[in-house]
């Protein structure tokens, strides 16, 4: 294998590895979202439904990205956005649950 072919192979391998890891990251992000959404459902406040819907839409958009024009940078950017919203939601849900618990409401979950 000459230098040019080796370099092209290495670049391809790095690209494939990156997409594989992005796929894994997406699956983990969805799993985490599912857990937070369960807490939101138990909380029954309704105030987080809109955020949940928005995050779900972001995942749907990510899922619909397909074909060989899929760009790693774009996928990563979308995933980071969804993760950022997810962390914010998690923090808000945790705060709301604590406040409610302090007030004596049962928000176990």
């Amino acid at each position: 294998m000459d230098a040019a072919t080796a370099a092209a192979t290495a670049a391809n391998n790095n690209l494939a590895r990156e997409f594989f890891e992005l796929g894994e990251a997406f699956a983990h992000s969805q799993t985490a979202f599912s857990s937070v959404r369960h807490q939101v459902k138990i909380f029954r406040g309704g105030e987080f439904d809109g955020v949940c819907f928005e995050i779900k839409e972001k995942y749907r958009a990510l899922r619909s990205l397909s074909g060989e024009r899929l760009e790693a940078a774009q996928v990563r950017k979308d995933l980071v956005k969804a993760d950022k919203d997810l962390h914010l939601l998690l923090s808000d849900v945790a705060s709301a649950s604590l406040v409610n618990k302090q007030a004596g409401y049962d928000v176990a979950g």
Binding site: D2, A4, T5, A8, T9, N12, N13, L15, A16, R17, F19, F20, E21, L22, G23, E24, A25, F26, A27, H28, T31, S34, S35, R37, H38, K41, S66, G67, E68, L70, A72, V75
Partner: protein
């Protein structure tokens, strides 16, 4: 002409159009011809989906393991199946490392090409469904899900086929399956082409639906469960001709259905475990001397 060659020839044409000498063009042409054709770029969408679905498969296997450790209390004989799940998990991890090692046809390095990756993924997913069918119906004793004894026999025989007996007679292990290169064998093995594969997927789908109903699980996160049932039934009924276009379609259908069932299984297993833990906690809360100590399941979850 490959994309790579085309790109080089375009570079050459550009040089010419810019008025560069013919010598430069000849040099570049020689470089392309000498270097040969580099491997094609990876199929981005395929690798992305592989990453996503393989991760779901790992989660499913881990949930199954947790179910043994939680459901409904730790039963010593059920712990026997933990190593079986770990064997499957190791195989999935090995598959991931093969993809990460050289995901683009570098066979000499132990890498897999696109088709091999998909075949291995399907093989590993079906092993999970085989194991799950056996665990839920036979080990956890939820056999009433299947009234049909034939289905129970099928679940048992698929499990036994998956874990051949060790040569020294000490139990069964996945390791004793002959190590083969990934191929369409996962689909072609069985009484007729795809026959047993369709049955595994059909029973797994029924089992997931039944579990949701029987255990009153929440459908909140569950999507598309049961989709493709009609097509599945059709394939299960009719023989698929080897190498035909229909076989190719059936293989892709199996792969997508397996991925969809995996996604649903993640949610169903998690909901099931939540429910199970909530019941355990409420039972602990009802005990007269209940304290805030962790549940006495007999298992050290930190180990």
């Amino acid at each position: 002409m490959s994309f790579w060659k085309l790109k080089n020839y375009v570079s050459i044409k550009r040089l010419v159009s810019r008025g560069e000498s013919l010598v430069a063009m000849e040099t570049l042409t020689e470089q392309v011809e000498e270097s040969g054709q580099p491997p094609p770029p990876p199929q981005r969408n395929d690798v992305f989906l592989l990453g996503r679905w393989t991760c779901q498969l790992q989660q499913c296997l881990k949930f199954l393991k947790e179910r043994i450790l939680i459901f409904p209390r730790v039963i010593t004989k059920n712990l026997f199946f933990v190593p079986k799940i770990e064997e499957n998990l190791r195989n999935v991890e090995r598959f991931c490392s093969q993809i990460l090692l050289s995901p683009n046809c570098c066979r000499e390095e132990g890498g897999l090409d696109k088709e091999e990756c998909w075949n291995r993924f399907c093989e590993l997913s079906l092993n999970y469904f085989r194991l799950r069918l056996y665990m839920v119906t036979v080990v956890f004793g939820e056999a009433d899900v299947f009234d049909d004894r034939e289905n129970l026999r099928f679940a048992r025989s698929e499990y036994l086929r998956m874990f051949p007996k060790r040569s020294d007679g000490r139990g069964r292990s996945l390791e004793y399956l002959p190590l083969k290169a990934p191929s369409l064998d996962w689909f072609r093995e069985g009484s007729s082409f795809g026959g047993s594969v369709f049955k595994i997927l059909e029973l797994s789908m029924s089992l997931l639906v039944e579990e949701c109903v029987l255990k009153e699980l929440d459908f909140y996160e569950i999507e598309d469960l049961g989709m493709g049932a009609g097509r599945l039934e059709k394939y299960a009924r009719e023989d698929v001709e080897l190498g035909s276009l229909e076989e190719k379609e059936a293989v892709v259908f199996c792969r997508e259905l397996a991925a969809s069932l995996l996604a649903n299984a993640v949610e169903i297993e998690r909901n099931f475990l939540r429910k199970q833990l909530a019941e355990l906690q409420s039972a602990a809360g009802r005990r007269p001397n209940a304290t805030n100590r962790p549940l006495e399941t007999g298992v050290d979850y930190n180990s």
